[in-house]
Structure formats: structure tokens, C-alpha cells
Amino acid sequence: MRMGEDAITLTDDLEINLRCLRERLCMPDNQDVLLRRFRSGAFESALLAIDGMCDTREIDENILKPCMDLPRDAGADVPGGERVAYLMENAVSILPMQMKERFDDLIADALSGQCVLLCEGSAAACVMDTRGFDKRGVGRPEAERVVLGPHESFTESIRTNITLLRRIVQRETLITEFVSVGGAMKTRCALLYLRGTADEAMLARIRQRLCAIDYDFPLTTGEIGQFIEEHPGSLIPQTVHTERPDRAASFLAEGQVIVLTDGSPAALGAPSTIWHQLHTPDDTSMRWQYGTFLRLIRLLGIAVHVLLPGIYLALLRFHPELFSPMLLTSVYESGSRVPIPVYLEALLMTLAFDLIGEAGLRAPGSMGNALGIVSGLILGQSAVSADIVSPLLLIVVAASGLGGFCVPNYALSIGLRIVQLIVLTAGAAGGLYLIALVLLALLCSLCRMQSIGSPLTAPVTPPRRANPDILLRLPLRRQKARAFFAKHDS
């Protein structure tokens, strides 16, 4: 046994153990650490916890008081190695308990809000779940609002999130595995899946990638998603994030694995397909005709968002014959008063729209909405009056921006905004011809992508067995197949 900071496991000497813990936890400089020594019957014990992270009332009533109330000779004949177990059986009245011997584990548990009970003569300590820090209650989803369907969202507490999921998926095969990921500061992650439904090979791949994360502070599911995806240079996300427990439950049922992290109010689903990014819970909640109609509208919105500014520019510069003479006259008339090239004009307006969107998102509370409307109206009107932009371009950029709000996935919507700028540049450089070529190249890139080994564009291409729930949402009674990435014999 080595002493000091290098110590790995507990000894049977309580004094040495406490000294080591004090050193590791930088006591007395670190004033959050509670290390309380007390007499429990015939021997001495100690309790380690972090102030504010644990429920002190629960510790007082269920650990300290019963232990200190033991008669002076209680446990006198108990061997040193069994003293912790003796206290657990005869005094402590807390349910979740675990015996641990490594300092690293004990410190990590204490830092997560659990308390550690050590006894004189025992080389093992008991970790008890007494977490009692303040946390936000279950609220409404902000980024994934629906008309029908549940209105609750994940919170920052991993425990609450697991409970929310378990309340929906009441199956004995729902497995929760805890993994600590990261380098200097470990983040507690939970890996949830349905045994018998999720593919083991895929599960092993996710576990391996999580364990391989050597980034010092992977705090959120968004950061963890970046480490487990295959194509970090791509514009399209390869995992799907959701803040809705009902959606995460549907991912589990499909055979996906859910990753939750402590402190992140979102779940990460993997593997995913591009179609997951385009679906919303409303599509399934409503009758199939309505769901299909909404999906088609959404696709139209995405097409308008990505293509409209580029096509407008291409038509104006390379294919003016496609405009009617009246419209062409009007476009040229208003364009002749604008002093900057049409490409720059379109680029500036598109970026201005993104600027308003970003400012509206970051502005506090209800100011955000007001800011968006006011800047849109005032900037747009003023820009047209000052002949900085042509009115038709303003309409094009506004319609395109409106289409962008149809994208149900926020990460995807940012990727599509970048694609919009690429298409805009292609339209200015080579008209519809270059737009077509650039889109084909981008689609090639999309088609070769994988998410944890599953093709991102499957089951459309490459073909895989699937439900009729991809672009069109056909009746639920026809949806009997499990996702292609689920376990084969499930």
C-alpha cells in the first residue's frame, strides 16, 4: 500500500484512509467537502460527502443518527473487514448501497452527490445514494414542440431523464448501463437500450467509441455525439438528438441506443438515418393522411430554403429567358438602382437573415420574438427604400428563410443553411448547370455516409427492409417491421 496521492485502494487503517482522502480532495482549502468522524458502537467511522450535492437531512436521519445511537459495545466482536456491512445491516436505512475499495471510485461518487461511509479496520467503504441537489423540474420542450402528443421534456438530471424514459418504456428488457467518459473531468453517461432489440455489434461499437473519448470535458450529448460519429467533416449530423422522452422511447423501440449525460437536457439516439432528422412526433400522432401531408410540406420548405436563392440568382444571371418579359423588366428595373452586384446582394441578405435569426435566439425571453419581427420589418423596408436590395430578392430571401423554419432538427437546419450558401455561390458561378452538379456531389457525399456502421440514407438507398414511413407516412397498421439496424432475429 502506498501513501499520499498515489494511493489506489483503501487500507484497514481509518486514519490513513482519511488522510489520503483529505489530500486528494485538497482539504482544508476545499471547504465544500464534509468529512465527519463519529463513534458507531464499539468502533470509529467516518462519512464523506460534498456540501450542497447531497441531502443532509437524509444523511442525518438515516445514517448519522442511527449509527451514533448504537450502544457503546455494539459490534465489538465484529471483525474489522465486516464492520461496514454490520452498520448497513443494523443501523443505516438507505436503499441503494454499493461497496467500493478504490479511492478514485469513492471520490468520483462523492463528487456526484453520493456519500461514503468508512469504518476503522475495514478496507472497503460503502457508497450510498443521498443525492439531493437542486434541479430544474420537468418542463415543456422548446425546440421540438408538437400539437398533439406529450408536452414534457428531458431535464439536466440524468436520473430524472432515465425515470422519464422508464415511465414510458415499461419493459424488463430496458437496460441502463452507466459509463464515465472523458479525460480530466469524467462525465457520467447512461447507455439505454432494449436487450433483444438493439444489435449487439452496434452496441459494442458505441461502447467502444464512448470509452475512447479522451477529450477533457465532454459535457453534453452534443459533444459526445461529435466523438462517436464517423464523418466529422460532414455538414449533416449522424446522430439524432431529442429533448422529448416519447421520441427517445420510440428510438429505443426501433432498436436504437440512447445516450444520456448528466447535465444535458437532451438524449442522443444512434444509429440514425437522415429520415430521423426530418420526422416529428406529430407525423405519427396524427392520421396518416395528415402526417404525410405535413411531411411533404416540410420537404417543400427544405427545398425552398436550400434552392430558392441560388435558383433566383442562376435565372437572373444565366437563364433570364425563363422569366416572363413583365417580370424580367421589373427585376431589371429594380436591380438597376441597386449599386452592388446581385450575388453580393443575395449573400448579404441571406447572411442578414441568419443574423436576425441568431440574434433573436440569443436575446433574452420575449425580446427575441420582438427583435426578429422588428429587425426583419425595419431592415427589410429600409434596405428596399435605400435601394440597397431589390424587392424581389427580399421576397426570395424571406421565403427561403421561412422554409428553413420547417426543418425539425436544429443541427440539420444549420447544416442546410451552409448548403444554401454553397448553392447560392454555385448559382452565381455556373447557373442551374452548376447547381445541379454541386447538388449531385453533395448527395453523393450524403449517400456514402454511415451512422455507427448503418448507411445514413438507408432504407431508401441502399435498399433495406423497412416500414412505409420514410418520405410518406402510410397507415400504422402497415408498419410492422423493425428498423433495419435492429437485431436481426428480434
Binding site: L322, L432, L437, A441, V460, T461, P463
Partner: protein, 355 residues
């Protein structure tokens, strides 16, 4: 109840990869038949080009059977692969030349040919850099758009309801039709890319792959459908552009325009159609370039890490030469592609070794 054992899933995945590959071959064949028909076919036998192009269909069937034979053989065939590499790269250059010519004469009349060639090659190279799986999968996903879109737009843009454009049925005469048919045989050449296993199956061991390779009929109907679409589009072109008008057109790109009755570049329908043609040609170029690189690495295993850059460099060099000597050279030389295709097909006839 579907069979869902792990073995059956692997077999299903192999089958899916071949479906994607067959679809890519079909789209390439359709694009090549149409480009050859508007190039060599119409120059020789005017509005009977579609009839001459139909001669490519039996050739497609024959080459499919030969390619399938090569696919199910585990015997190494370096000479065949070398020939396939050369053929595929020439086909890629031919498709790129057609694409550049089409863009110059229709959508970008004011741009220089070298600018269009550079951008087209860059995009094809970018598609290749994303890998064979991406291009094949995209072709599979766009198969209905390419096939139905071309057919529907072609039908919509026909102005006259009379079928008089197809007559005289043999154009300038039976002799010319026979000559054009001979030239059109080269349209079947892209089918030979089926002789190379899809890149997605590289991780599956050869015995499993060979054991689960679908029969020739699986490929045959898809490829024939692709070729037939090319033939039908030529027939529609003849309907839209009568005998006299086609005779006046000496330029390839102009002949590739459909719906001539509506006049060149006269509307959104026509532009959409041109974009579809361009998309088919670009994908055909990228797919054949990738197949060329694959065949090159099979023929010269030492070259494997550099196969794609070498293939791209060869194509870039040939395209540059064509840009300076005139893209019409590719048009005139395209029918000669049937010679290496026939030789590669003959080499597929070697004795088969069972897995």
C-alpha cells in the same frame, strides 16, 4: 414470416449491393445509348436513330451474361481487368465530353468550354472522391427520377400529336440504319462494369460473396430497362423533331435537346430536362471513372492506393486534349468503344472456377 437469420441478412445485404450496382449500370447504359444515339446515330440515320439504337439491346443482354460470368468466377484475370479499366476510363471521358458539350450549347452558351470542362470534371472527381458506394447509391435513389422524369418530361414537351416524326421508319435507308446500328453497339459497353464486384462488398469474404451473387436474370432485366429507356428517349426525340429539322442540326449538343418543337431554351420544362440529362451524364462519368479505378487496382494490385488519382489524372488529361482538339472528336470516336468492349466481353468467357 421473413427469414431474418444473420446469414440471410448478409445475403440480403449482398443482394442489395448488387441491386444498387445493376441500377447504376442501367442508368449508365441509358445515358450512353442516348448520347451515342444523338451523336453518331442521328448523324447517320436521322430520325431512325432509335431503331438503330435498339440494336444495342441484344448487345446489352450478351454483355450482361458475360459480365455475370466474370463476376461469379474467382479466377484472377489481369488482362481482362486492364482492358476493363481502359474501357471504363474512355467511357468516362466520353460521358464528360457529352456533358460539357451539352452545357455549352444549351445552358451556358457564354461560358468558355475550358471553364465548363473544369467545373464538370471537378464535380465528377468530387463524386468519385466520396467513393463508389455514394455514387451507386445516389444512382439507385434517383433511378425513378432519372427514368420517369426523362420519360414524363419528354412526353409533356411533345407538341404534335401525330407520330409523323418517326417516318420514314428507316430514315435515309436500310444501309444507313445498319451502319448506325453497328455504331450504337458501343452503347452497351457500360454494362461491363457489372463484371466488377461492388466496393461495398469488400469486407465480405469472397466465398460468401460468390455464394450469394444473384443470377444473371437479376441484372438482365434492369440493364435492358435502362437501355430501353435510352431507345425510347431517342424515339421521343424523333417525334418532337421531324426528319428535316434533325437533318439541319450538325452539332451534337443541339441534337441532344429534346422537345425541339418548343424551340431551344424556351422554357422551364426544357431546362429541367436538360438538367436531368446533365445529371445522368455526370453520374455515368463518375461511376465509370470509379469502375475504371477499381479495374485498374485489380489489374495492377501495386497501384491500389493510387488507382483513383491515376484514373482521375488520365481522364483529366484526355478531357483536356478533347477540349483543345474539339469535343466532336469524342463523338466521332465513341462507336469505336465497341471494340475494347467486345474484347473484354470475350475475355469474360474464360473457364469458371467454382468458389
Amino acid at each position: 414470416m421473413p427469414n431474418t437469420t444473420p446469414e440471410s441478412v448478409v445475403a440480403a445485404r449482398i443482394r442489395a449491393a448488387y441491386r444498387v450496382r445493376a441500377c447504376a449500370a442501367a442508368v449508365c447504359t441509358g445515358a450512353a445509348v442516348f448520347a451515342l444515339g444523338t451523336g453518331a446515330g442521328m448523324a447517320i440515320c436521322l430520325n431512325a436513330a432509335w431503331l438503330a439504337a435498339a440494336a444495342a439491346l441484344p448487345a446489352c443482354a450478351l454483355l450482361t451474361l458475360l459480365a455475370h460470368r466474370a463476376l461469379t468466377s474467382s479466377r484472377p484475370a489481369r488482362l481482362r481487368n486492364a482492358l476493363l479499366a481502359a474501357l471504363m476510363l474512355l467511357l468516362a471521358v466520353f460521358a464528360l465530353a457529352a456533358l460539357v458539350s451539352l452545357a455549352k450549347q444549351t445552358m451556358l452558351p457564354h461560358a468558355t468550354i475550358s471553364y465548363i470542362a473544369r467545373t464538370s470534371f471537378l464535380m465528377a472527381a468530387l463524386c468519385c472522391a466520396f467513393g463508389g458506394a455514394g455514387v451507386s447509391r445516389l444512382m439507385f435513389a434517383l433511378r425513378f427520377v432519372l427514368v420517369l422524369g426523362l420519360a414524363a418530361l419528354c412526353a409533356l414537351s411533345l407538341r404534335g400529336e401525330s407520330a409523323s416524326g418517326l417516318f420514314p421508319l428507316l430514315g435515309p435507308g436500310a444501309q444507313q440504319v445498319a451502319l448506325a446500328a453497328l455504331c450504337m453497339l458501343a452503347g452497351a459497353a457500360p454494362v461491363l462494369l457489372l463484371a466488377l464486384p461492388p466496393a461495398e462488398l469488400a469486407e465480405i469474404d469472397e466465398a460468401t460473396r460468390l455464394g450469394a451473387t444473384p443470377g444473371p436474370g437479376f441484372f438482365l432485366w434492369r440493364v435492358l430497362l435502362g437501355g430501353a429507356i435510352g431507345v425510347l428517349l431517342l424515339a421521343a426525340l424523333s417525334l418532337g423533331g421531324p426528319y428535316e429539322r434533325i437533318a439541319q442540326e450538325t452539332s451534337w449538343g443541339q441534337r441532344m435537346l429534346l422537345a425541339r418543337a418548343s424551340g431551344p431554351r424556351a422554357g422551364g420544362t426544357q431546362t429541367a430536362l436538360l438538367i436531368l440529362q446533365a445529371a445522368a451524364l455526370l453520374l455515368c462519368a463518375a461511376q465509370t471513372m470509379l469502375a475504371g479505378a477499381q479495374a485498374l487496382s485489380a489489374a495492377l494490385p501495386r497501384l491500389q492506393p493510387f488507382a483513383l488519382p491515376v484514373a482521375l489524372a488520365l481522364c483529366a488529361g484526355l478531357l483536356t486534349a478533347l477540349v483543345y482538339t474539339g469535343l466532336e472528336t469524342a463523338l466521332r470516336a465513341a462507336p469505336l468503344l465497341s471494340l475494347p468492349a467486345a474484347a473484354a466481353g470475350a475475355l469474360c468467357l474464360g473457364r469458371r472456377k467454382s468458389p
